[in-house]
Symmetry: C2
């Protein structure tokens, strides 16, 4: 079905109130979740609302708890998410990293005991729109094999880089698995094969068959051994600095609900000394990429975040398409 | 030939003096370069010494210049490398990021006008050995196509994550191209095909043929579009914050020598509030990976940096093997 941004936000707001959220939390969370659909990322927006509701109902997500500081040293702080709503905690901690950066040039918050932040780009964009460079990442449940293992012992630990650009921003948001399980499921249900190998089949061979990969759960890290190594280090850094649960510990929690919980997240904000220099460099880089010879005449060269920005424009104008099944999971909360 | 670490370091020290370096710079640079070979990474150690000598001779590397601060705001500083020796500038700036982190919890230096740092892991290890978490990256000359382009318009922009671990460290150092040109050249000269596609052949097809890829120069970013996007953002951030040259600008400098120059680098250090927590989390993560089922009975599961640590031990005991041809390029300086 087609809904306007305001209608979608209002529906989410009311459902959050029904789940027990106070008005401030319902307002802010509905805005973040609806914006994910507005940007064309419903997989990390409305498609996950049901999981939030389920977690609230079984007590693994305490909807009115919000992150509070645990320790502080200058520009670096550790916060405890108190099992609150992931989108709220992440937004609070990125705001805090920005406040620390405003004072100290750079600021960092390591957050523990939080829940799924839905779409990592949200927090990179939050910072970049206010003029800050941002780096953030999250750990996850073990959902990706390490290089050389069959077993899922690492997280796909999405990593986000964002920078302000003129009155907009550039953002790169990517999990460290080549394809998400969501993307694999979607391709399988549509009968498509993947354009590039996304994992291993049951014979241990690299495969473009999304159903086979979903079965073995042996998804491929980006860059093979490289993405595996980056994932391991991101988990060490975020769980070590926050003293929260690391990926293997998250995996041992057991699945009270369908979603992972008690995650750690890292938020780094940097205040550019010279905003004009940032714009000039960014423009030069974009121009070089946009003017490079394309692989063929049909290929449109894209800048990270460009697709979402154009979907946002279109969806604001024409309305947001929400899958009927997903809409049902929301209205039935 | 086989040389001891001390012999290698002494030879490099003397050659640096001959190139005009003062004793302090020759001492520190010879240590860093020799340690790269000690760790088994001669491709980023002795193999690049000739390029340093060439750059000194043609005036693009001013051997006794060292980085100096340009601007400072709390925990974030911009430094100018004044075309000095890359290994010295990088080491100075990582030390400075650590000093800022000691005071502020986190510290960051964005460096411009520097030269090739040889092996990025050196500076991650430098910080991790002293108990700091480190993130650093460099931009490069345009040496990798963006996703969707044939032309090399992005850098492979190596990205490093490091963390202290007990009396040692864990370090992940990787360029954003799947294989370096060095690795492609080595495989080609040994008549090997690559285990995984490393780029495109002249027909525009993904290829495991290293000679073909070296010819087209269409190396593959890790994770296809993902590594391409990360590379673009790393360049925006490092060139924008330091107000130094971005990748396309570096590409326009023209090649006075065989090596890239006037690069930008980013150094972030974080002081863990709780070093014991870092060790506990790291141990849990390593144990989970090491105990996961391997893909087959021959595969040894590796932790990032593990290979270099064991080579260091072996090379300290048995001596370092330096390629005869490379040794000649050094002694003939």
């Amino acid at each position: 079905m087609l809904v306007s941004f305001n209608e979608l936000k209002k529906t989410l707001y009311e459902k959050l109130l029904k789940l027990g959220a106070n008005e401030g939390i319902a307002e802010k969370a509905s805005q973040i979740i609806a914006e994910n659909d507005l940007d064309g990322v419903s997989s990390h927006g409305t498609a996950r609302f049901k999981r939030i509701a389920d977690m609230v109902k079984c007590g693994t997500l305490i909807i009115n708890n919000t992150a509070t500081p645990v320790s502080s040293k200058g520009a670096m702080e550790v916060w405890d998410g108190k099992l609150g709503l992931g989108v709220i905690n992440a937004s609070i901690c990125m705001d805090r990293a920005m406040a620390l950066a405003e004072k100290n040039g750079i600021g960092c918050v390591a957050l523990r005991n939080t829940n799924h932040w839905l779409r990592g780009a949200s927090y990179g964009i939050q910072a970049a729109k206010k003029g800050y460079v941002a780096l953030c990442w999250t750990n996850t449940t073990p959902n990706m094999p390490a290089w050389g293992t069959k077993e899922q012992c690492l997280g796909n630990n999405p990593l986000i880089f964002a920078a302000p650009y003129k009155d907009s921003y550039i953002v790169m948001d990517g999990a460290l698995a080549q394809y998400s399980y969501g993307a694999l499921g979607k391709a399988a249900s549509e009968g498509r094969t993947l354009p590039y190998p996304g994992g291993y089949d049951s014979e241990g061979k690299l495969s473009c068959n999304p159903a086979e990969i979903s079965k073995t759960r042996r998804v491929l890290p980006i860059g093979f051994w490289k993405g595996s190594g980056i994932s391991l280090l991101l988990d060490i850094i975020v769980s070590g600095l926050s003293n929260g649960l690391c990926v293997p510990e998250i995996g041992k929690l057991g699945s009270k609900t369908t979603d992972e919980r008690m995650l750690c997240q890292m938020f780094i904000a940097i205040k550019p000394e010279n905003a004009r220099a940032m714009d000039i460099k960014t423009e030069a880089i974009i121009e070089a990429v946009k003017h490079a010879e394309a692989v063929d005449s049909e290929t449109k060269i894209r800048i990270p975040g460009e697709g979402s920005l154009s979907k946002r424009e279109k969806n604001l104008r024409d309305g947001i398409t929400v899958d009927d099944g997903i809409w049902q999971t929301i209205v039935s909360v």
